[in-house]
Symmetry: C2
Subunit: 370 residues, 2 copies
C-alpha cells in the first residue's frame, strides 16, 4: 500500500455493506477479490454504477446534520465520473440545477464528478452552493447582497467576472471550477436555470413590495463525498428547502440579509426593548412569508414542524432496520421555536459513519489559481 | 481510606482552588493538613463557612446547563448544615422562599442543609422544586394541573395530603422531606410565601381572563450539591426566571399545560396546517404575556435575548480570568428563536468541572418511607 492509495479496509467495509444491505447482489467474495486486485494494480478502484448510487444515498443517510433524511432512498444519482474538465463540470452543474428544479417539483439529486485518484487530479467547485448571491462592500462599510459571499464575490471579480451594471442584492455569482492541469473555468449561471420565488405574505401586503426573493434549490457544491475509501471532491447535491433555512438564517442572520429590524419597523412593533420580543415576532412573519410564497409559486418546501415529525419517523425506520442513525442535536433542532418540535426533547447517537459528506478542504473563497 | 470516606484528592483539589482564587487566604498548607487529619480521624471533614459559600458559588459557575451564570458571585448562601430533621428542613425551605422572593426583587439564594456523612443520614427533599403545582388525572384520562407532577401528587396523596375541596390547575403541593432515622415530614407551603404572577398580555385583553398564572421563584430542591468530595443532598437553590422557561416550556409543552392550541384558537389563527406557523405565533404571544406580566407585577425576570448576551459576557469574563467555562449547547440555546440569539452561533467547552450540582439520585416521585 503506497501513500495516496485507497484504504483497503474502508473499501472492504463499504463493499460488504453494499452486499449485506442488498442481498440480491449475491455473495460478496468475487467483488472483494476484484477490488483487492484493482487496488494492488492501480492504487485505487472504480465503483460500479450501483455502488456509486448506493454509496451516495448512504452518505446522505449518514449526514448527521440533515433533518431531511427520510427520503434518502429517493436520491437521483448522476454518474458523471468521466467529467473532470472545469468547463464541463460547470456546464453540468447548470444541468444539475435544471434536473433538480423540475419546474418547482424539486427532486433530490447528486452529480458525481471525477474522483481523486493517484496520479490524476480531481475537479473542485469553489462555490459553496451552485446558486449564490453576490456581496458588495459599499464605501460606508455596509454590504449590498449576501455578506456570506464577500470572499467568493471578490474571487469572481479577480477572475474577471463582470457584475451587472446596476448592482443589486440578488446578483447571481458565476460558477468557479478548477482542476490542476486544466484551465480553471468561470461560468455565468443562466437566469433561466435559476428558479426564484418572490416573497409575499398572507396578511401583510407590503411584503410583496420589498423586492425580496430566494432561489428554489439549495445545492451544496463544495463538500467532499467519500465512499469506500474514494474521495469525490466535486459532487454537488440538493434537496428542497426547509423554510427556516431561508426565513431564519439566510434572510435573518445579522451577517446575511439582516431583515428583521426592517420588517419589525414596517410591522410597527415596539422595538424599545428586547422584552417586547419584536425580533421573534418579525422572525415568525418572515418565515410565514417564505412558506406562503413557495407554496403559492408551486415550489417544494417543508416547514420545521412537519420535517421534525418526519425525521422521527426516519429514526424509527432506521431503528427497525437495525441501524444506528447518528444525529447532531444542534443542527437537527430548528432555529425557530426549537422547543415546540419533537426533535428537541431527546438525544441522539453521535457516531460518525461512512460513507459521508465532509467539509470543503479549503475555505470556499480560496484562489482558483495558485 | 474506608468505603464511604471522602475522596481525599477531590477534597485537596477544592481546598487548593479556594486558596488560589482567594489569595487573601494565605498559604494553603495549614488548611490542607487540617483537612487530612480530619478525614483520617472521621472519614470526612467540615467546610469552613467561607469554603461552603465559595463552593456553592463555584458549583453554580460550573453548571454547564445554566445561562444565568454571569451573577455567580452574588449567590446568597444560607449555611444550615446543622439542620437535618425533615420538619425543620421543610420549614427552612419556606423561609428560603421568603428570603429569595424579596417582594419581587428576587435574590439568588442557596440553603445548604446537613451533608451526607459516614454514620449519619442526610435529609432529602422529594419535590423537584420548592413550589410545584399538583396534577390530577381525570376520569377521561385528561390531566388537571401540571402533568409533570403526577407522581409527586400521588406521593403527597399517599402521605395523607388533602387537596383543596375544589381542585384547580394551580394547587400548591406540600413539601415532602425525609431523612433516615427521622419521621418524614410533609408541610403545606403557606400561600403567603408563594408570590405568583397572573398572566395578562399587552395587546390581547382576553389573556387576563384565562386564569393562568405562574410562581415568581424557580427553586430547584432535588439536586445534590457536591463540594470538595462532600455531598449535600438537600441544597435548594433559586435564581429568577428566564421568560421562556414559563412561556415555552411550563405552559407550552404538550406534557405540561399545553396552552398553545387554546391560545391559537382564541387568537383566531388558521390552524389548518403546520405551515401557517400557528404554533409559533401562539408561542410568541404567550411569551410576551409572561414577560409583560412579570414586569407589571414588579417581579424580576429576564428575556432570552438579553440573557444570551449576558452569557457571552460571562464567557469573556471567565476567559479573561484564565478559566474554562463548560456549557451545554442544547440547554444554553433558548427554546424560542434559538437562531436569533448569539449563543446559537458557536460551540462551547464541555468538560465537567467540580464543585457542581448533580441530578437527584432517585426519581423525585420515589416513596418517602422505604
Ligand atoms: C430532501 C430534502 C432535504 C431537506 C428538507 C434537508 C434539510 C436539511 C437542513 C435543514 C439542513 C441544515 C442546513 C443548515 O442549517 O445550514 C441540512 C443539512 C445537510 N443536509 Fe440535508 N436536506 C435535504 C436533502 C439532502 C440531500 C439530498 C443531501 C445529500 C445527498 C443532504 C445532506 C445534507 C448535509 C451533508 C448537510 C450538512 C451540511 C453542512 O454541514 O453544512 N440533504 N439538510
Ligand atoms: C439568577 C438567575 C438565573 C437564571 C436566569 C438562570 C437560568 C437558567 C436556565 C434558563 C436554565 C435552563 C432551565 C431548563 O431549561 O429547565 C438553568 C439551568 C440551571 N441553572 Fe440556572 N439560572 C439562574 C440562577 C441559577 C442559580 C442561582 C443556580 C445555582 C446556584 C443555577 C444553577 C442551574 C443548574 C444546576 C441548572 C441545570 C438544571 C437541570 O439540570 O435541570 N442557576 N438556569
Amino acid at each position: 500500500e503506497k501513500l495516496g492509495d485507497v484504504d483497503i479496509a474502508e473499501a472492504e467495509d463499504f463493499i460488504r455493506q453494499h452486499h449485506s444491505e442488498n442481498p440480491g447482489l449475491g455473495p460478496v467474495e468475487a467483488r472483494l477479490a476484484e477490488v483487492h486486485a484493482e487496488i494492488a494494480a492501480t492504487g485505487t478502484y472504480r465503483h460500479t454504477p450501483e455502488e456509486l448510487a448506493f454509496g451516495a444515498r448512504v452518505a446522505w443517510r449518514n449526514s448527521s446534520r440533515c433533518i431531511g433524511r427520510l427520503y434518502w432512498r429517493s436520491l437521483k444519482v448522476r454518474d458523471l465520473r468521466e467529467v473532470s474538465a472545469p468547463a464541463d463540470v460547470a456546464r453540468e452543474c447548470v444541468e444539475h440545477l435544471r434536473v433538480a428544479t423540475n419546474h418547482g417539483k424539486i427532486r433530490p439529486v447528486i452529480t458525481v464528478f471525477a474522483p481523486a485518484e493517484p496520479g490524476t487530479h480531481a475537479p473542485v467547485i469553489h462555490n459553496e452552493q451552485i446558486i449564490r448571491y453576490a456581496a458588495y462592500r459599499g464605501a460606508d462599510g455596509g454590504v449590498l447582497g449576501d455578506a456570506r459571499n464577500l470572499a467568493l464575490t471578490e474571487l469572481a471579480l479577480e477572475q474577471g467576472w463582470q457584475p451587472p451594471v446596476i448592482r443589486g442584492p440578488f446578483d447571481l455569482l458565476p460558477l468557479m471550477v478548477s482542476c490542476e492541469g486544466h484551465e480553471p473555468a468561470m461560468l455565468r449561471v443562466p437566469a433561466d436555470a435559476v428558479l426564484e420565488v418572490k416573497l409575499s405574505h398572507p396578511d401583510l401586503p407590503w411584503v410583496a413590495g420589498l423586492g425580496v426573493k430566494w432561489h428554489a434549490v439549495p445545492a451544496i457544491s463544495n463538500m467532499r463525498l467519500r465512499i469506500g475509501g474514494i474521495d469525490y471532491p466535486a459532487a454537488p447535491f440538493n434537496g428542497w428547502y426547509m423554510g427556516t433555512e431561508i426565513g431564519a438564517r439566510n434572510l435573518a442572520d445579522h451577517d446575511r440579509y439582516d431583515l428583521l429590524p426592517y420588517i419589525a419597523k414596517r410591522m410597527g412593533l415596539d422595538m424599545s426593548s428586547e422584552a417586547t420580543l419584536w425580533r421573534d415576532r418579525a422572525l415568525i412573519e418572515l418565515n410565514r412569508a417564505v412558506l406562503h410564497s413557495f407554496a403559492l409559486a408551486g415550489v417544494t418546501i417543508t416547514d420545521h414542524h412537519t420535517e421534525s415529525k418526519r425525521f422521527l419517523t426516519h429514526l424509527e425506520k432506521e431503528e427497525a432496520a437495525g441501524r444506528k442513525c447518528p444525529a447532531d442535536w444542534s443542527w437537527i433542532v430548528p432555529p425557530v421555536s426549537g422547543g415546540l418540535t419533537p426533535v428537541y426533547h431527546r438525544y441522539y447517537d453521535t457516531d460518525e459513519l461512512l460513507p459521508n459528506f465532509f467539509p470543503a478542504a479549503k475555505p470556499s473563497g480560496c484562489p482558483v489559481a495558485h
